[in-house]
Symmetry: C2
Subunit: 349 residues, 2 copies
């Protein structure tokens, strides 16, 4: 945390009261809320324009756009909160296109009665996250719904970024023989949320891994411009994401159970809860697929970045018209890694 | 409605069932919902890319970004629904910068138990609105919250557009002597919602004016490139919007009550309900401010466009360091046009 960040965090005014319907009514109360909470902390030249939208300037290169709504419960969790998450989620979706995220929009749907002090904490956290990622929130919106018609606060963000001509990253680019790499341990976010929600006490507190990955992606592309696929294994975890890519690319995948990094405490929590860490959401990890010739270079680049220290090659892409993802288990058998069929962890992001 | 639009509207499949938590879980159920409801109707080359974001291509010119969340209740109302409104709201915010809207993102927060058939109706309406506005929905997200933690469906949209170098439109550009023009009748949207919500029966059904204004804005800029301010009087109505502009530009305004176009049935409903039509929301009207020399040309251009037939000059900008908006009343007196202080019409957009 820089000195400026610390000042910002300390600058939480002692806001009292709670969100009421007038804060969504387009009148003076809404204008004051926007000025005293949103613009105060998110302050930048774009918001200062004060119009219905933001004038961003020109960019050269191809544009990329990604959107995410965030309905996570609880709003504050070990390692983060909905404010930071709503920045990271969308910054990462833009970064997974191989693009450099430039701007974010943020729309808040607030429930009547939600404490303004908590709202301000969330906005401060969002502001910090945006500055740490280097991606300003340039425009937004606030709406209020009656008590019992929402749940505290929901935040929808959209990101716009720019993609260099050399980059061609898509879930449909995986080819047989390619290496599958993950940037770190799987399942931290989901288990952090679940333990908070269910009031589970583990010896070691498990923190969400929520973080922006645009800097890691930039380092990876600098090392291996020909990365074929990038995707962050959020809802549905590694299983869902690998299956998505396998379907898009019409290939199979074989991964090794022992090759997938999982923190011991997360593995223990999963065992206790009857969960498969491969199905558990992450918010600060990515999957990369590249040609086998590039794998060592890419892995080295990832491991030399603070957000990729635990990066590992977990398997390879194979030819398979049925697009099956299979796993060599710890005991040497093979099993299909399927998408979760039902609901495992609601409102995880 | 074109033949293709009619086909699309008729193509509503007989979807049964309702949204459940698996539709937000990142697994197979979510993938199927996205394919069978969202991609089916919103279909375009961007969505077909199938990645976490959309690759948009390059644009020359300055970019503009605007965001809106939509929490309107009821979801279906005379003259529109939340699907169309969520396109119009953001297309119009981009257009009010003087920009040409190019792309939209759309994020859905759905309540468990919401009928899938109604969701599909909303998506079909959104698709129609997007095609009519010429602005595709290129990326999005779906989340599900438990029954009682939301209210049917909320939709957040963000729009990106491009602005020509010649255009300089901002709420801070109004100058004393400028003319204030509205594009049509005030209050239609708010009264349509309220009459539906309160089960009021008027002799003539009052329809929401929800519509995209990007074509009207293009015609206006072609006639008068030097338009100084554009803004759509949504929440808080004409009063709030004029006050916003007055504050931004540090000017006063004087408008004439008899000059503001209001449909007789809307005026009657307002009288019955004790509402001031100047405070009631619009979703398909705009305010334009231009130099007095340009006013006649701009008015003529607006009146020759189908969405500006009832356009009228309603007043002028004056020097006033207190940024007061005042109105010459029907009876010849003067009164201050203030922002609404409290909540008049919750969840109007």
């Amino acid at each position: 945390m820089t000195a400026a960040d610390a000042k910002l965090a300390a600058d939480l005014s002692r806001v009292r009261g709670s969100v009421d319907m007038t804060h969504g009514a387009g009148g003076r109360a809404m204008a004051e809320l926007i000025r005293d909470v949103f613009h105060k902390h998110l302050a930048n030249d774009y918001l200062a324009q004060g119009n219905d939208g933001a004038l961003l300037g020109s960019v050269s290169g191809r544009l990329v756009m990604a959107a995410d709504s965030h309905v996570i419960s609880p709003l504050f969790f070990p390692g983060g909160d909905i404010g930071a998450l709503s920045v990271h989620g969308t910054v990462n979706d833009v970064a997974m296109m191989g693009a450099r995220p430039l701007w974010l929009s943020a729309s808040f749907i607030m429930e009547e009665g939600f404490p303004l002090a908590e709202l301000e904490k969330i906005v401060v956290s969002m502001a910090l996250a945006a500055r740490q990622a280097g991606v300003p929130v340039v425009t937004g919106d606030t709406k209020v719904v009656e008590k019992g018609k929402g749940d505290g606060v929901f935040i929808s963000t959209t990101g716009v970024g720019v993609l260099s001509e050399a980059t061609d990253i898509s879930g449909s680019n995986a080819r047989p023989g390619d290496a599958i790499i993950v940037s770190g341990t799987m399942g931290d976010h989901g288990i952090a949320i679940l333990s908070k929600r269910e009031h589970l006490d583990f010896e070691t507190e498990i923190l969400s891994d929520t973080q922006p990955l645009n800097d890691l992606v930039a380092a990876m592309l600098a090392a291996v411009p020909g990365i074929r696929v990038l995707r962050d294994p959020t809802r549905g975890g590694l299983s869902a994401t690998l299956n998505e890519i396998a379907h898009q690319s019409k290939v199979g995948m074989v991964i090794g159970e022992t090759a997938v990094p999982v923190k011991p405490e997360v593995a223990a929590a999963c065992e206790l809860l009857g969960l498969d860490p491969l199905n558990v959401a992450n918010e600060g990890k990515l999957i990369a697929i590249c040609g086998s010739d590039d794998a060592a270079t890419l892995l080295a680049a990832m491991r030399s970045h603070p957000k990729g220290l635990d990066a590992a090659i977990i398997g390879e892409v194979v030819a398979d018209e049925h697009a099956l993802v299979t796993m060599r288990t710890r005991l040497g058998g093979m099993r299909v890694v399927d998408w979760i069929a039902g609901e495992q962890l609601p409102r995880i992001c």
